[in-house]
């Protein structure tokens, strides 16, 4: 016990160091929502400044002060140069911006001050205090106490001052801060200055108890990221507590016998602790907000499908590149060609990894800083399969990839409870642990090489002679091509749409029946599979790997490739892979770059990132479009186009023949419905297929063509079946009772309104019915099934759709694709059939599109169908949400304040649409602030006040109810 206590006391310096760093990371994150991976560099440079000033003759104290100032300026500079220009892009792009800053700053420091250890300026007097068999220096103790003082001061700043309030407010909502007259850029800039100064202070104190080394010092931030993770990137005190855990683990593990002797024991222990911490997180679904995405994008957004005029120039360029493909290995002569091939081969491997990251990060929004570890798993297990089991390439490729997929899925199981940058840090910990622990274990690393016979035996099938780089070129690009093919198929399928939906809004995705957790895990698995395949290619090509080849910082490079490509673009990822891989050729040929490799790589990342903010995908499409406008290009394109059309038509005919025959076989086998039979609910399929249904609204045109009054609802409410029943539902948040014993019913074919003043508990009631909030007590039944504790996506599967007060569409998709997401539950095909584009998958896709076309036509959304939702006005977006609910074909739709944000005309249009929908046999439940709208549209109304039901009945009755008038309406409504 005493030994533990001693170890704990001896850990205080580490705790102090990590705490100051973690507090800086959290502070910058809180103020700007950016994960500052350059924090290590910002920590490292100020002590060098102090060193230089001291060498120039400046006394220690002013040198330290100026060093801290330099840290602040560095923070300001990083924000201005590497982060602010990317604010319109994704958080991933901003994170990679800080990676570029990290690379540039470390490389610059190495150039300016060299990479030899230098003695740092000592801030505290020399001397030590003996503790047991060891001791602590005054400097180390000073570091700990400075941490306490600094944290205290920052807490006061954040909690007690106007500036702190402004910083917190700006971080929460930049737009709101802006509307209140606050300059959010200035506040964010100040936070970065403060964060930089703090990093500088910690660096100066750290260096004073160790020494100066650009790489070692900048790596000290890594444990601090772990501490910040424990704090949820949110709490300063939490960061200190997290640093306490990290520092204590580092201090105690060495005395734990076998675990202490284990290589990477501390990292393993911390990773396990992180798992426990993450397991205690809520795993709550997160709603997206298209308005905030639109505003933060500042008019620039990532676009998944870069659409060019007619799409044909892209095809032409792709065909041209494809035609060049077989000749590339023969470009250049002798050694030069060989070196080019080396880079192209590396590009193929990068392309596989980029595809993995585009899928996971770009499409599903799961930021990964751990892919280097997955690639490493693929590489080492390839060695294992080849050496131990004598399974040659390519048979070992799927096996290694599957193992990596398994590891990725396990990572996903843990990480699926967290998201965004919090997830990024979690994956970073995984990568760190893999580097420090997993890839240092003899049972795995003994397979660090493959003897040539184990790659494959000549004369056997399949055998590839990789001593010829050209062979590897074709094989690697074939693997990359298959990966791209599979990913592209997924993107355009039900699975891909589910991915995008999860990224756009987990709540909305879930409400459409998409199992968010399952799809996240699926994305992790597929991404891990691809990363493992890349690892297999690395091992197969190099036949030997060395420890440290899959260090955590390699993950930064890999994510950078995906981001430079455009984050969500497969083609962009390939282009970025070629760009980064070609650096090796440049370095090999241009000897003048010797000594400048780091800075060149970092500068390239920075330049490409900042010059092409939408990634190479957008830049490439602009270039191609510009070329396509040239006369010669137009002529060439027309010729190519004619030829292409012919090929396309032939292929389409071939596919249709195959599909028809397969379908016929399925019908004969009783596995599919005959052509013409609809699997959709009659209500929706009838209007979807009925040409006589009037155009309700020409929304895009803004005019109402025909409005027919709906038929009145038959009398005798009690005779109609109950669709939904909430029975004595109570919801408590701590001591606050938000909903108190509410009972309500929604019956078939009616519109039920739920109203109440602000704070009445409408939204909580609505969410408890929808499954987002679990009632503290009471019961919710849907179609007579108890769904009180049923997850959102399973409720959806029972047949309930919903809309959202804050629009929950996927901004990166077109209106049509957004609506396609709603066909999810009607499409029984699995992701493997999407990968392979089976005839059945094609058939289901065709049906889904037909269905969407019907709804688009019905709601007059034709003109908007191909436009991205982020480009559309708010009123149209509301209509798209309603359309999406209708596409589900469910008979029960819940509408969450559908008139919110609409003007009178738009509200009137919406009212008519809702009545028409009800007239089609769909049951509706809506909560709404607009009393006039609710009373005009609802067949039955419930009124809440302070969480309690105060009235219910038809609209006429509610309008006259004195309690309602008094408590909610304030004055009688005109009859």
């Amino acid at each position: 016990m005493i030994r533990f206590l001693v170890a704990l006391v001896l850990s205080l310096p580490n705790i102090g160091a990590y705490a100051i760093l973690a507090v800086g990371i959290v502070m910058i994150y809180r103020a700007s929502k950016v994960l500052n991976l350059a924090h290590g560099a910002m920590t490292m440079i100020p002590p060098y400044v102090v060193y230089s000033l001291s060498k120039a003759g400046l006394p220690a104290l002013p040198a330290v002060v100026l060093g801290i100032v330099a840290g602040g300026l560095l923070g300001w500079g990083v924000e201005r140069v590497f982060v602010r220009p990317l604010r319109g892009e994704s958080v991933t792009a901003q994170t990679v911006g800080t990676v570029a800053a990290l690379g540039v700053l470390v490389a610059l420091a190495a150039k300016v001050w060299g990479t030899t250890q230098l003695p740092a300026v000592r801030v505290f007097p020399e001397g030590r205090i003996a503790i047991s068999q060891s001791s602590i220096s005054y400097g180390e103790l000073g570091l700990f106490f400075v941490m306490i003082v600094v944290t205290g001061a920052l807490l006061v700043l954040f909690q007690r001052t106007d500036l702190g309030l402004l910083m917190r407010g700006t971080a929460e909502n930049r737009r709101a801060a802006s509307l209140m007259g606050v300059d959010p850029d200035r506040i964010t800039g100040f936070a970065w200055i403060l964060g930089g100064a703090l990093a500088g202070l910690s660096g100066i104190l750290l260096a004073s108890v160790t020494n100066l080394h650009p790489y070692t010092l900048s790596l000290q931030a890594l444990p601090a990221f772990v501490a910040a993770l424990f704090a949820g990137l949110a709490s300063l005190l939490g960061a200190v507590a997290g640093a306490g855990i990290v520092g204590a683990v580092a201090g105690i593990v060495p005395i734990l016998g076998k675990l202490g002797e284990l290589q990477g024991g501390s990292e393993l222990f911390l990773a396990l602790t992180a798992i426990v911490v993450m397991a205690t997180k809520g795993g709550r679904l997160v709603a997206g907000d298209i308005r905030s995405e639109m505003s933060s994008a500042g008019g620039r957004r990532e676009r998944e499908h870069v659409k060019l005029p007619g799409g044909r120039p892209v095809v032409a360029v792709a065909v041209a590149l494809f035609a060049l493909f077989p000749f590339m290995p023969f470009m250049g002569r002798g050694g030069q060609g060989f070196a080019i091939l080396g880079s192209l081969n590396k590009a193929a491997i990068f392309a596989v990894i980029a595809t993995a990251l585009v899928l996971l990060t770009g499409w599903v929004g799961q930021i990964s800083l751990g892919h280097a570890a997955l690639v490493g798993v693929g590489a080492y297990t390839t060695g294992m399969f080849a050496q131990a089991l004598h399974i040659p390439f390519p048979l070992n490729l799927p096996l290694a990839a599957l193992l990596a997929a398994g590891v990725a899925t396990a990572l996903g199981v843990v990480a699926v409870r967290v998201r965004g940058l919090y997830l990024a840090v979690a994956t970073l910990i995984f990568s760190w642990m893999a580097d420090a622990f997993l890839f240092r274990q003899d049972w795995l690393t003994r397979y660090f090489r493959i003897d040539e016979p184990n790659i494959g035996k000549p004369g056997t099938f399949p055998y590839f002679d990789f001593s010829d780089r050209r062979i590897f070129y074709f094989v690697a690009w074939a693997v990359a091509g298959l990966g791209l093919y599979a990913a592209a198929n997924l993107r355009d399928s039900k699975t891909g749409r589910a991915f995008f939906a999860v990224r756009g809004s987990e709540v909305a995705a879930s409400s459409l029946g998409i199992d968010v957790v399952r799809y996240k895990l699926l994305a992790f698995s597929i991404s891990g599979f691809l990363a493992g395949a890349a690892g297999n290619l690395i091992m197969t090509e190099s036949r030997a790997i060395v420890p440290g080849q899959f260090q955590f910082n390699i993950s930064f490079l890999l994510l950078s490739i995906a981001v430079v490509g455009g984050t969500s673009s497969l083609g962009g990822g390939v282009a970025a892979s070629v760009v980064f891989a070609s650096l090796d050729y440049v370095f090999f040929k241009v000897r003048a770059l010797g000594g400048l490799l780091d800075i060149t790589s970092a500068a390239l990342l920075a330049v490409v990132l900042l010059a092409y903010r939408g990634g190479l995908a957008r830049a490439g499409s602009s270039i191609v479009a510009a070329i396509a406008r040239q006369a010669w290009a137009v002529r060439a394109l027309e010729g190519a186009d004619r030829a292409w059309m012919q090929v396309r038509d032939d292929l389409a005919w071939l596919r249709s023949q195959i599909a028809a025959r397969t379908s016929q076989r399925l019908v004969l086998a009783g596995l599919a419905m005959p052509a013409g039979a609809s699997m959709y609910t009659p209500a929706v399929s009838s209007f979807a297929e009925d040409d006589d249904v009037p155009q309700l609204l020409a929304v895009a045109g803004g005019s109402v063509d025909v409005i027919e009054r709906p038929r009145p609802l038959p009398a005798g409410r009690e005779s109609r079946a109950i669709v939904l029943r909430a029975d004595e539902v109570t919801v408590r948040f701590g001591g606050l009772v938000a909903v108190n014993g509410v009972t309500l019913e929604v019956r078939e074919g009616e519109i039920v309104g739920l109203i109440g003043p602000n704070g009445a508990g409408k939204t909580v009631t609505f969410n408890s019915i929808a499954g987002i909030v679990t009632p503290t007590s009471g019961r919710v039944t849907l179609y007579d099934k108890d769904v009180t504790n049923v997850p959102v996506h399973e409720r959806a599967q029972l047949g309930v759709a919903r809309t959202f007060q804050a629009i929950q569409l996927v901004p990166q998709l077109s209106v049509f694709d957004n609506l396609l997401v709603a066909t999810h539950l009607h499409n029984p095909t699995g992701f493997l059939s999407h990968v392979a584009v089976t005839p059945r998958a094609l058939e289901e896709e065709h049906r889904a599109r037909e269905r969407v076309r019907g709804v688009v036509s019905l709601l007059g959304l034709k003109d908007a169908a191909e436009r991205q939702v982020a480009d559309l006005p708010f009123g149209v977006l509301r209509m798209v949400e309603v359309a999406r609910a209708m596409v589900t074909g469910f008979k029960f739709i819940m509408l969450d304040e559908p008139a919110s944000g609409l003007d009178n005309t738009e509200t009137e249009k919406l009212t008519e649409v809702l009545l028409q929908v009800r007239d089609l046999g769909v049951t509706l439940l809506l909560i709404e602030h607009d009393v006039k709208m609710v009373t005009s549209v609802s067949d039955y109304i419930y009124v809440l006040e302070r969480g309690t039901l105060i009235a219910e009945g038809p609209a006429d009755k509610i309008k006259r109810d004195p309690a309602v008038v008094a408590a909610y309406l304030g004055e009688p409504v005109e009859a």
């Binding site: 580490n14 160091a17 190495a110 990479t115 030899t116 250890q117 003695p119 047991s132 068999q133 060891s134 001791s135 602590i136 220096s137 180390e140 750290l206 108890v209 160790t210 020494n211 060495p254 290589q263 095809v315 002798g334 050694g335 060989f338 590396k346 420090a436 003897d451 000549p458 004369g459 099938f461 399949p462 001593s467 010829d468 780089r469 062979i471 074709f474 094989v475 074939a478 693997v479 091509g481 298959l482 093919y485 592209a488 355009d492 036949r543 030997a544 790997i545 420890p547 440290g548 080849q549 090796d584 090999f588 000897r591 770059l593 000594g595 490799l597 780091d598 396309r648 596919r655 584009v837």
Partner: protein, 473 residues
């Protein structure tokens, strides 16, 4: 649009499968036709060289064929003598092997000038360039100048391996020194070096696998040897209770610590009391120091440090127990900056090296003086006490000497034959001797004491241990 995309992707998929099947078919057809699949190393040109170059492992067979290569070389030497070749331009036989012409020998090496490895390997190219400059100023070797290409790989294993493969494909004759150990390690382990039969002469990586490859001739004392030497010297000095702190992240630490422990445990009455591995790069090691000291209990007569300089500084700052009789550092700590930064804490510590460093009276030894002059002619400010600089200079010197001994009929096989029986005497190190199954040419080390006066480092003092030989070799 969907059908259109699907059609595009269909073509892509078809193409990928076709490429895979086509590649296999192409190879099989190639094999059936006797064309072979690989581009393989380029064969030498010029008349009369087929017996020397076409037959040996140099053309792409594995190490097992190297014996044949050596035999062929003997025949080649006889033929050269018979044909009256002379050691001067125009008479040297011209293109006798890959990368050799009548007036130059094409060489290459990967070096480290960027990244973390540059701190200790950064000056190695200067040692190589110094020797090359000197040789070329004398007209080269047998009329052939040394044409060496040094390329920075930033100590990146994958990149380094790729560059070495490029060199082999470009047709370099040999890879002298090749200071960037990560890429070289990968190239050795992957079998590229053996398969191409490209000589790697004078390497300085100190990791054990460099001493096991028939195509690699290291000049440095292996880390495992240094550790056993440290233990032997201590034991011979009466030490029985040992302690060792080592770097448990990098391979040199793992290999060296294991060799140390295994050796000490075999010594009569000796025990390893404290054996602690630490992770480099930590801000402090108080807990590890506590653990180490607990295990030592003030009773470790010998304490060894197998750490990088920065890690060692931080470790020592935590006040670990030193040996009551002796404290020794491995050759990684023969570093002036480390000694300066450590100051009085390291006073009296012994640091071992496999070379004669350019310090004290040793600096006046003829080869050391030449080394200093040569490297300073390339870079006047270079730190001449840097062990890797000295190693690269010595390695390149050994390589040049071997080339001279081969003579005009220069082939890889003959170079291998010469190196496999080479004894090299120089005042830079003890006598270096390579044999076909003995790559530990440098199996000795000697110790220097850190001298501190008035709290500051004041140079290295030769402890006069003499060259202590690895007791297991």
């Amino acid at each position: 649009m969907s059908r259109f995309l699907n059609s595009t992707k269909g073509i892509l998929a078809l193409a990928c499968v076709s490429v895979l099947l086509g590649t296999i078919t192409f190879q099989r057809l190639g094999a059936a036709g006797g064309a072979g699949g690989g581009t393989g190393p380029v064969t030498a040109q010029g008349p009369g060289e087929a017996a020397d170059v076409g037959g040996p492992g140099a053309a792409g067979t594995d190490a097992g064929a190297a014996g044949g290569g050596a035999a062929a070389a003997i025949g080649g030497a006889a033929k050269a003598a018979a044909s009256g070749l002379e050691c001067r331009r125009g008479k040297n036989g011209g293109a006798t092997d890959i990368g050799v012409t009548g007036d130059r020998i094409k060489l290459a090496a990967t070096v480290v000038q960027s990244g973390i490895g540059a701190s200790f390997l950064g000056s190695s190219p200067i040692g190589i360039q110094a020797v090359v400059r000197k040789i070329n100023s004398e007209g080269g070797i047998c009329g052939r100048i040394l044409d060496i290409k040094l390329v920075d790989d930033a100590w990146d294993a994958n990149r380094g391996l790729g560059f070495i493969r490029n060199f082999i494909e470009e047709g370099v004759f040999a890879l002298p020194v090749t200071p960037s150990s990560e890429g070289l390690t990968a190239a050795i382990e992957s079998g590229d070096i053996s398969k191409a039969g490209v000589p790697v002469v004078g390497s300085d990586g100190m990791l054990i696998q460099q001493y096991r490859n028939p195509w690699v001739w290291p000049v440095a004392t292996a880390t495992v040897s240094t550790m056993r030497i440290m233990a032997k010297y201590a034991y011979d000095s009466g030490v029985r209770k040992f302690g060792l702190v080592y770097d448990k992240l990098y391979r040199f630490g793992k290999e060296g610590s294991q060799a140390f422990k295994e050796y000490v445990e075999k010594l009569p009455a000796a025990e390893v009391k404290s054996f602690v591995g630490i992770n480099p790069g930590q801000p402090n090691y108080s807990s590890d120091v506590e653990e180490f000291n607990q295990r030592c209990s003030n009773d470790c007569e010998f304490v060894g440090l197998l750490l990088e300089p920065g890690t060692a500084e931080t470790w020592i700052a935590g006040r670990p127990q030193f040996g009551t009789k002796m404290t020794s550092g491995a050759q990684t700590l023969f570093n002036e900056r480390f000694a300066q930064n450590c100051g009085k804490l390291c006073s009296g510590m012994l640091v071992w090296t496999g070379y004669n460093p350019a310090v004290g009276p040793l600096a006046a030894l003829p080869d050391i003086a030449a080394f200093r002059a040569d490297v300073q002619s390339v870079s006047p400010t270079v730190d001449v006490t840097n062990q890797f600089l000295q190693g690269s200079y010595l390695g390149m010197t050994v390589f040049a000497e071997a080339l001279k001994r081969v003579g005009p009929q220069l082939t890889r096989a003959r170079l291998r034959q010469v190196l496999d029986s080479m004894d090299f005497q120089s005042s830079m190190a003890s006598q270096l001797s390579w044999r076909p199954n003995q790559r530990h040419a440098n199996a000795t080390a000697h110790a220097f004491e850190v001298v501190v006066t008035q709290g500051s480092f004041n140079g290295w003092r030769d402890k006069q241990t003499g060259w202590v030989r690895d007791p297991t070799l």
